[in-house]
Symmetry: C2
Subunit: 237 residues, 2 copies
Amino acid sequence: MQFKSPKVPQATILRLSIYYRYLQGLMINGTAVVSSVDIAQQTNVNPAQLRKDLSYFGKFGVRGVGYDVPQLLRRLKSILGLERERKMALVGLTHIGRAILQHEQLGQKGYNFEAVFDCSPANVGTIVGDGYTVLSCDVAKKVIAERGIEVVVLTVDQGHAQEAADLFIDAGVRAFLCFSSTCLSVPSDVFVRYADFTILLDTLTFSLSQAQPIAEADRSSTPFNIPYQRVSAAWGV
Amino acid sequence: MQFKSPKVPQATILRLSIYYRYLQGLMINGTAVVSSVDIAQQTNVNPAQLRKDLSYFGKFGVRGVGYDVPQLLRRLKSILGLERERKMALVGLTHIGRAILQHEQLGQKGYNFEAVFDCSPANVGTIVGDGYTVLSCDVAKKVIAERGIEVVVLTVDQGHAQEAADLFIDAGVRAFLCFSSTCLSVPSDVFVRYADFTILLDTLTFSLSQAQPIAEADRSSTPFNIPYQRVSAAWGV
DNA sequence: TGGTGTGAACAACTTCACAGCG
DNA sequence: CGCTGTGAAGTTGTTCACACCA
């Protein structure tokens, strides 16, 4: 069944993940069938958008009826590559790093930490979270290879992100979730996603200051003309 | 100096915030002048993109020279609405919530927590982080108004996000940074940004599974044709 | 000369509108 | 009759290429 594989927008993948979460909820409360309009409403998306998103990957629904929840869930799981568990490492014992280690939902979703690294000698050897012994970055290459780690969650201190990324790229890691506000420079076969929420705060601040045009004083700033909010925007754009 | 104010892409605001961070770094190490090519390289953006982004808001550079770092910083600060400090509240004492409270960079950037709320009676009244007394959600309306809180960081447990959002919308809050994976349903004058990094992990997983087309077995999945990586994509799209 | 500013060309993404089918 | 699936139309966003100016 070879599709002619038209280009899949990046934003589609993001939305697929959002649909997936909503469907998991439906599954739990026993809903069997759902329409594109319903999913779309609950995920702040245009119904046609949802159908188009799915259409990139095949046909999933029944005309006049809707989508079978368990079946669509399985298909999405397969598309997103979530059938296999993913082995991750956390690098950098910051506050956020420690919090992420304790995030129960990650395990439920098939994301498991196999190692925790930190470069500060004070932390190496201590035990954190659910019984992880903190490893030195010196053994990165060995441990990454031995434990088959594919994804690194980078929660190092400001300014050490690039250095750490280089180290783990050298160790063979090709996927990074980066929480610092530095932009990483990486080879083109390495994937990076940025999760620095202070950037999102800035966009909120911008929206707020546009919304209440003149606060107190001179503000010669024209209220700039911003297009309507789209879903992808709320997610970092 | 009334601009004709053409539409500003949402993605532009995001990038402005990223440029801002890079310029702060330049400022600290004393660089006086910078070119669009340099900023663009360090932020993984096309130089024309950077210039276009700025052009929505005026003219900032000197032809043949580049941009004056302190001056551009000031202008960006003004555009993003960062001149005034922003009062925030944190809602939900989860692990991530506690970590964010301790995030030093927020204060440096003008984002200050004025209150911490939690609905669990076990937490109310305890002291967390830098001396915050945890407040009950019952007093939300009063406290929000009294302290002039504009932004709520929502770190409640899965499933309580909508409920909490409704409560604080009623209390007058118009900007939310939401860490749970639920999509909120809010009036059109309320701004929401989502910071659920598990969605980003899913997009990483997708990319990984596309990159190594056939892992072990049957996988009838065609390697879908994904367009090149763009900056906004790495930020959640 | 060298780097900005920008209209115009291009590319990506979203929405419409309706055909098609259960 | 209702809801999916999808080409075509429309909209938004990015890149090019070059005029312009210190």
